[in-house]
C-alpha cells in the first residue's frame, strides 16, 4: 500500500489546519454560508437532510486494518456507530457535527487518510478495480497509476474550479469491474507489441443524460499518461459549459463538439505540454509501484477448505457465491457482503469494521478493498483460512452469500439522507432483499444486478443495472421507474425504461413479476436475466409488468 512521504504528511497537516480555522470562522459567523460552502465541499463536508455528512476518500478503494479501525473509532466517537460505503469506494459518515469535523480530519490524517476532493468541481477520488493486484485476469495492477493520478490531481492549480466534477477510473483487467465506460475518463490498461499503455475512454457518465464513454485514444503509452490527462481536462476546462450545470460535464462537451473535435484539441494541447513533462512523473510512478509490491504468496495445503466445502452447505454456498479466482495458486479473493437481507446496502457498523480489519490483519496480508458495489473485499486470502474467516464473519452478520445476486443491490442514500433526492432508495432495496430471501429464490435466479437511485443524478447507477430503479417525486408521491438491460461492464449499456412508474407499495411486486417472467422465459438455468432480456427484448417483460391490456398504452 502507498505510504505517505514527508510532503504528503505536511500537505495534509497544513490543509487540516486551514480547514479548522475556516470552520471556526464559520461557527463564529465571520464567514457566511456562501463563503464557506466551497471551502467545506473541497474537504468533503456536505449538508444533508438531517445533518452534515463527511465523505472520506478511500483512494482506489484500498484500506489497511489500521485505517479500518480508525474509521470504526470515528463512527463511535463522532457519529452513530456506523459508516456507509459508496459507489466511489468512499465512506460517508451521516451524523457529524460541524465543530467536530476538524478533529475527525486530524484522526484520519493519523492513518494517512483525508476527505480532500471528495466533493466540489474538482477531479474526484480516483477509483479502480476492487480486485486490483489479485485478479486472475489482470494485466497489471491499476493502483500505482491511480495513486499517480491522485497525486497529480490533488490541489492541481489548473483544476480547482472546473466546470463540474470530474471522475476518473482505472482498470488493469479486460473484465471491467471499475465501470470505466461510465466515467468522465476511463483508463483501461492494455499492452500493444509488448509495450504497456492505456486505452483512454472519455465522456461516459450516468446522471440525467447517461452516456457510454467513447474511445479518445486507442493506445496511449504509459509515460504519456499525465500530460494526456492534463491536455484532456484542460480542453474541457475551456470548452465545458459553465452556463448550465446540467450541460457542464465532459460527456456533454464531447456530445456537442463531437469526439473528433475533442480528439483534435486534446492532441494539439498534448503536443504543447508533453515536452514540459521531464520524466519526473515516471520516476515517481516507479517509486509508487514499489509500495504496491505483491504480498509473498506461499504454497500451503488447502485441505481445510475442501473439508469445509464438502461437509458444510452454508460454507459451500458462501464459497460458491462470494469467492473469486485469485492469480496465486491456493488463494482466493473473498467478498464480504455488507448487505445482509434487510440491511442498508453499504452500511457497516463499527463492530463489523473491526471484525473485517482484524480478519484482514490475521489472514489477508492486512488489505481490504471497498468495491463500487458497496461491499468489502479481502483481496488475498489463502483457501485454507477461509473456513475460519467464514465462521468469524458469520458471527457478525457478515457472511451473507449474495454477491452478484438479486439482494446485492447498489442503492444510493436517497431521501432518507440526501438533500437532492426525490424519493427513498434504501427501503426499496431492503424490501426487495427481504422478499426474495423469504421466497428462497435468490440462488435459483442467479446473477442479477439491481441498482437503485433516489433521483435523476443516478448515484445508485440505475442506468447500468440489469434492473434499474429510479425514485421520483410524481405530484407529491414517491414513484419508481424501472429500466431494463443496463450493463456496467466492458460491454456497457444504458438500460431502457419499461413504461410508467410504480408507487412505493407497487414496486417490489413489480420486480417480483419481472423475475417470475425471467424464470419462465430463460432457456436454461445458465442463461442470466440480462442474457434473456437481450435475447427476447422488452416485450415479454412489459407484459409481466403492465399486463397484456396495457401493452400499447405503456409503449
Amino acid at each position: 500500500m502507498y505510504k505517505y512521504n514527508d510532503f504528503d504528511t505536511a500537505f495534509i497537516t497544513e490543509r487540516n489546519r486551514q480547514f479548522r480555522a475556516q470552520v471556526e470562522r464559520r461557527l463564529s459567523g465571520a464567514l457566511t454560508e456562501d463563503e464557506f460552502k466551497p471551502l467545506r465541499l473541497m474537504n468533503g463536508v456536505y449538508l444533508q437532510l438531517h445533518a452534515y455528512m463527511l465523505r472520506v476518500a478511500i483512494p482506489y478503494g484500498t484500506l489497511n486494518s489500521h485505517q479500518m479501525h480508525k474509521l470504526a473509532e470515528i463512527a463511535d466517537r463522532w457519529d452513530q456507530g456506523y459508516g456507509h460505503f459508496t459507489t466511489r469506494q468512499n465512506i460517508q459518515f451521516n451524523w457529524p457535527k460541524l465543530g467536530d469535523i476538524p478533529d475527525i480530519l486530524d484522526a484520519l490524517a493519523e492513518v494517512e487518510m483525508h476527505a480532500i476532493q471528495t466533493s466540489g468541481n474538482t477531479i474526484r477520488n480516483v477509483t479502480a478495480d476492487h480486485f486490483a493486484g489479485a485478479a486472475a485476469d489482470e494485466i497489471a495492477d491499476p493502483r500505482p497509476v491511480a495513486e499517480l493520478i491522485r497525486q497529480w490531481s490533488t490541489d492541481h492549480p489548473e483544476f480547482q474550479f472546473l466546470p463540474r466534477k470530474f471522475k476518473i477510473a482505472v482498470t488493469g483487467s479486460p473484465n471491467d469491474r471499475a465501470v470505466t465506460k461510465a466515467h468522465d475518463i476511463g483508463l483501461r490498461m492494455i499492452e500493444r507489441d509488448g509495450e504497456a499503455g492505456f486505452e483512454v475512454i472519455v465522456g461516459g457518465g450516468l446522471g440525467r443524460t447517461p452516456m457510454v464513454g467513447k474511445v479518445l485514444r486507442d493506445f496511449l503509452p504509459q509515460a504519456d499518461l499525465l500530460p494526456y490527462l492534463e491536455a484532456t481536462v484542460s480542453v474541457w476546462n475551456i470548452l465545458g459549459r459553465r452556463d448550465n450545470k446540467y450541460k457542464s460535464r465532459i460527456k456533454i462537451t464531447v456530445h456537442e463538439n463531437g469526439i473528433e473535435e475533442i480528439q483534435r484539441l486534446t492532441e494539439a494541447r498534448f503536443a504543447e505540454i508533453r515536452p514540459l513533462f521531464s520524466g519526473v512523473d515516471q520516476e515517481m510512478l516507479a517509486e509508487i509501484k514499489a509500495h504496491f509490491a505483491a504480498p509473498t504468496f506461499v504454497t500451503r495445503d488447502s485441505a481445510a477448505f475442501d473439508r469445509a466445502y464438502d461437509t458444510d452447505p452454508v460454507f459451500r454456498s458462501w464459497a460458491d457465491t462470494n469467492l473469486s479466482e485469485h492469480r496465486a495458486e491456493g488463494y482466493a479473493i473473498a467478498q464480504i457482503s455488507v448487505k445482509a437481507h434487510g440491511q442498508t446496502p453499504g452500511d457497516a457498523s463499527s463492530e463489523q469494521m473491526r471484525v473485517m480489519a482484524d480478519i484482514a490483519r490475521e489472514f489477508g496480508h492486512d488489505e481490504l478493498r471497498i468495491s463500487h458495489e458497496q461491499n468489502v473485499v479481502l483481496p488475498h486470502v489463502h483457501k485454507s483460512d477461509l473456513p475460519d474467516i467464514h465462521a468469524r464473519l458469520k458471527a457478525h452478520g457478515l457472511a451473507t452469500a449474495n454477491i452478484g445476486k438479486i439482494s446485492d443491490i447498489i442503492a444510493c442514500p436517497g431521501m432518507d439522507y440526501c438533500a437532492l433526492a426525490t424519493a427513498r432508495s434504501i427501503p426499496i432495496a431492503q424490501e426487495i432483499a427481504t422478499r426474495f430471501d423469504d421466497l428462497k429464490l435468490e440462488h435459483e435466479i442467479g446473477d442479477l444486478k439491481i441498482k437503485i437511485s433516489g433521483c435523476i443524478n443516478a448515484c445508485g447507477h440505475h442506468h447500468v443495472g440489469h434492473i434499474g430503479i429510479l425514485g421520483l417525486d410524481r405530484a407529491g408521491v414517491e414513484t419508481y421507474q424501472i429500466t431494463l438491460g443496463g450493463d456496467h461492464t466492458e460491454t456497457a449499456a444504458i438500460g431502457t425504461r419499461t413504461g410508467p412508474g410504480f408507487g412505493e407499495h407497487e414496486i417490489v411486486p413489480a420486480i417480483e413479476r419481472l423475475v417470475e417472467a425471467y424464470l419462465k422465459l430463460r432457456d436454461s438455468k445458465e442463461e442470466t436475466f440480462l442474457q434473456t432480456y437481450t435475447r427476447l427484448g422488452m416485450a415479454p417483460f412489459k407484459v409481466a409488468l403492465y399486463g397484456e391490456d396495457t401493452r400499447i398504452k405503456a409503449a
Binding site: 461557527l27 449538508l47 438531517h50 445533518a51 427501503p427
Partner: protein, 100 residues
C-alpha cells in the same frame, strides 16, 4: 383567480449541529415542528423569510416549506418534510430518536 396560498413554516438546518430547525412566532429556532409558526399570509411569510435568512450565524439553508394546520401545530403536506421532521427510515436516528 390566483391560487390560494398554501400555509408555510420557515425551516433551515442548524449551523453547528446540522439538524432541522423551524422558526417560532417568537423568532426562536426550534427543533420541534409543532412549535413552529404557521404562516398563512404570503406577504408576511416572504418578509419573515428575508429576515430569517440574515441569521447565517445560527442556521443554514433557510426556506419556506408547505404545511397544513394540524391538531398539534403545523404538519407536513409533502413526504420530504415528513422525513425531515422524523429522520431516516432505515434506522431510529435523528429527530425520532431525540424525541423518543
Amino acid at each position: 383567480m390566483p391560487k390560494a396560498f398554501t400555509p408555510k413554516v420557515i425551516t433551515a438546518n442548524h449551523l453547528a449541529e446540522g439538524d432541522v430547525v423551524y422558526l417560532t412566532s417568537g423568532d426562536e429556532w426550534t427543533r420541534d415542528l409543532s412549535q413552529a409558526d404557521l404562516l398563512t399570509d404570503e406577504a408576511i411569510a416572504e418578509a419573515r423569510l428575508v429576515e430569517a435568512s440574515t441569521q447565517h450565524h445560527l442556521v443554514v439553508g433557510v426556506y419556506l416549506a408547505d404545511m397544513k394546520a394540524g391538531e398539534n401545530g403545523p404538519e407536513p403536506v409533502h413526504f420530504r418534510e415528513e422525513f425531515r421532521r422524523r429522520g431516516p427510515s432505515n434506522y431510529f436516528h435523528g429527530k425520532q430518536a431525540a424525541t423518543a
